[in-house]
Symmetry: C2
Subunit: 491 residues, 2 copies
């Protein structure tokens, strides 16, 4: 794999000067066009061996183009805020919005490769990381980003020479640390592991470009030209990336589904409700104060039909919690900044630290519910959202979060009764809008979407809980009871 | 000051039940109105002695109202990301946007009071913190926020009893820690210091409300009712808060000012420029790699007339830096999210960690330049911005940041020449718009605004550097030279 990057590629000084002048002008023009179109973001991943000129190349890209519209991130040690959230959180923080170029110096590849080289992770784990990366990058590309990955390579001989040369010059000595030499001792392992990583993650949508780092002129032009080609290709190409075709199975032949099989007969008297409410709120309160919870996070998702009583259920949960430890996030239309990022970005930015409870009132499932039914996104977008969401939630549970998801629903008749009741009561009238009636008219389509959603995203670690809420008391108790059970089992 | 909060205020259970029912309905209605108007944010600061029911009260407010639109923050230890930035950064992160209620449990008062009690700060320092707080809160109120401050008080006797009672009950024992008892030993000092803090910060725009914490019913209703009154008052009151009148002195009688006295004769040959560029870029490069810089941050502000060459100067700076250590922030119109916050919020969110360089291409000075001249803000807004900006920059320098501000300017004739040149050159044409011509027509007004700005915001720690840029080479060298000097002096 690295053979062609050990050939001793080089570009003569004179040719470089000529090509550089053309290249930088073209890159700058392409950068402004990218900024003007604001349709795509460019994510440049930089990896490779030490001393191969990664830093200089990134600096030069910033010099060739307008550094005001390039966001360069270097990833060192995790900050405490980063280490309390899923591994990928720090990268989501660093993703550029559409129109900009983000250069990630060190990236999601650094840790998996180093851990494997140092023997901190086993092969199976390593392979799993690589698969996660493939999913992540596919998501980025599906959302319209250009992902360019450059691997800077040096042969062992050249690397040794390079480190020695840097060390000999007083002006560059600071750049060579003991760590560099330590790593150099592991050159062979590093090379072998990197080769696997590059092979497994060189996908159609985000292939690696291996850059021989020996000659500066060669590596600068290679990276710059490849970036330019990718930019030009996308900028001139008005067509969106091809959708991956897929067909969802139709509803079952006998018409039975999860929702219409739901039992709506549960009922609680006010007295029994009050007693049970106190009991489960007390339990929940103790569970979230359990010292073991300090190393976990609880993420609760509420989805449901209009007027099913989500808000009331949320208040019964927060009533048991300490306001210092929970937040409720009402999910509405995305803001301008959020729209400039990939779909899941706005949920990543809301992820809780450890020891906290985050309640989402509507959530990332909007894409496969309202956005699907109302046509706010394309079919290929909501089709791929199922696996993107599963990946996302898997990362949450891997980072020790407990994910609980409720679909709160009432029967069509009951919803009608509640709508009419709301319209009659002045105090509640603000809760009902024309949109609620419009949504109601699409009951069947929503039911179909919900069944697909539950079928495709109810996982072992983050299962859906369907709550029949014709009786508000019974629904609230069922929700509190479930939360207590899930928490108790997880701690 | 605390006398009236030691009277043993209480509300009988029956009266509480009745008033609570009315209050919560009214609070909820007011909260939704606040959300609908989206014109103001409510900032509730909670402070006081331990065991006085702060936590319970905040929990109850969340229960009475819709917790989805309340953002509660508790401030514990600073995270590493917080401790590398100015003290107030963590609070700016927690400020609610317009339409929402933010409850700050523990706040900017906690540290100054504790440090004074523990003898970690002297009186003068303490007084200085309190003045900083007054400036900060005045800014919040001027920007349209409602700031409500509640101090929960218990007499020494009652506090001892309260802590003992909590400790006796297995259900509440977890809430009393050794730290609470340790603090109790310092009750008298705490009371004395708090009294000074409350007196000095009980301003007209953000007065303290002292709440006796003995009787739960009393404290709940007191806080709830006060919040309701404040909300109703603002919601019904369409008029903006009264502007503080102020008159700026007119230009000097002899017509001389900082800008028209500027010397534009400086010139550099290309050869001299190339030599000096290399020299100062090398210096700058070494300075930012100096180990002492790891504990500082460099914040560079660029303002100037159109076509004065800000972009080119910025590129000459970044050319000397490592892309991993700097960012350039181009400041354009604020986003939707930024507009929902107080003016300076969008700059606070961009503050660099230590060891980093942040270059602002246009900045917070927009308010006293373009916004003033174009009438995008009111007169009282830009008038008060001078001191808000001075406060802001003082916080930056206090947090060990080095702040360097450049006003880059050319003569009117030279600007005309450059505009015409840009229009003729296809490659540069995108850089010139009708807006540039419109700005040019207001040359005198801008000149006046710039003179006011320099006069009012050029401080010892963050002075303005006026750069005459008719000769681009000389200007760039002057800028690099200044940066090197300032850095060398600061390290």
């Amino acid at each position: 794999m690295f053979e062609s990057a050990e050939l001793g590629h080089s570009i003569p000084k004179k040719e470089f000067a000529k090509r550089e002048a053309e290249l930088r002008e073209a890159l700058l023009a392409a950068q402004y066009e990218l900024l003007a179109q604001k349709k795509t973001q460019v994510i440049v991943v930089i990896g490779g061996v030490d001393g191969a000129g990664k830093g200089e190349t990134v600096n030069l890209l910033n010099e060739w183009m307008d550094p005001r519209h390039i966001i360069t991130h270097a990833f060192g040690e995790r900050s405490d805020e980063e280490s309390e959230r899923p591994r990928m959180w720090r990268f989501w923080r660093a993703l550029p919005p559409r129109g900009k170029i983000g250069i990630l110096f060190g990236s999601w590849y650094t840790d998996p490769i180093l851990w494997r080289v140092q023997g901190k992770s086993k092969t199976a784990e390593f392979e799993r990381y690589l698969q996660d990366i493939n999913h992540f990058e596919r998501m980025l590309v599906d959302e319209g980003a250009i992902v360019l990955k450059f691997w800077f390579h040096l042969s062992k001989k050249v690397q040794r020479k390079r480190l020695k040369t840097l060390e000999a010059d007083p002006k560059t000595r600071w750049r060579v640390t003991d760590l560099d030499w330590q790593r150099f001792k592991q050159y062979d392992e590093f090379r072998a592991v990197s080769e696997v990583a590059l092979r497994e993650t060189s996908t159609g949508e985000a292939p690696w470009t291996i850059v021989e780092g020996t000659d500066p002129n060669y590596r600068y032009l290679t990276v710059g030209q490849h970036l330019l080609d990718a930019l030009r290709d996308r900028l001139s190409n008005a067509a969106p990336p091809p959708a991956r075709a897929s067909v969802l199975p139709k509803s079952a032949l006998d018409g039975r589904n999860l929702l219409n099989e739901l039992d709506f007969s549960g009922k609680l008297t006010k007295k029994a409700y009050t007693r049970k409410l106190e009991k489960y709120q007390g339990k929940l309160s103790l569970l979230t104060r359990d010292p073991r919870f300090a190393n976990r996070a609880l993420i609760v998702v509420f989805e449901g039909v209009d007027a099913a009583g989500k808000g009331g259920s949320i208040r019964r949960i927060t009533g048991a919690l300490d306001a210092r430890h929970y937040s409720v996030v009402p999910v509405a239309a995305p803001t301008e900044e959020e729209r400039a990022h990939t779909y899941l970005w706005r949920f990543w930015r809301q992820l809780p630290r450890k020891g906290r409870v985050m309640i989402f009132d509507r959530s990332w499932y909007g894409r496969v519910l309202v956005e699907r039914v109302e046509g706010f996104c394309t079919e290929s977008e909501w089709l791929r959202a199922y696996s993107e969401i599963n990946d996302f939630e898997e990362q949450l549970t891997n980072a020790d979060a407990i994910v609980v998801k409720f679909w709160v629903t009432v029967t069509e008749d009951e919803q009608l009764r509640r709508f009419q009741d709301r319209e009659k009561t002045p105090f509640k009238a603000f809760k009902i809008t024309a949109e609620d009636w419009r949504n109601r008219a699409k009951w069947q389509e929503y039911e179909h979407a919900v069944c697909d959603m539950v079928e495709r995203t109810s996982t072992e670690d983050a299962p859906w809980v369907l709550v029949s809420a014709n009786d508000k008391y019974a629904a609230r108790i069922a929700i509190l009871h479930t939360l207590c059970e899930r928490l108790a089992a997880a701690l």
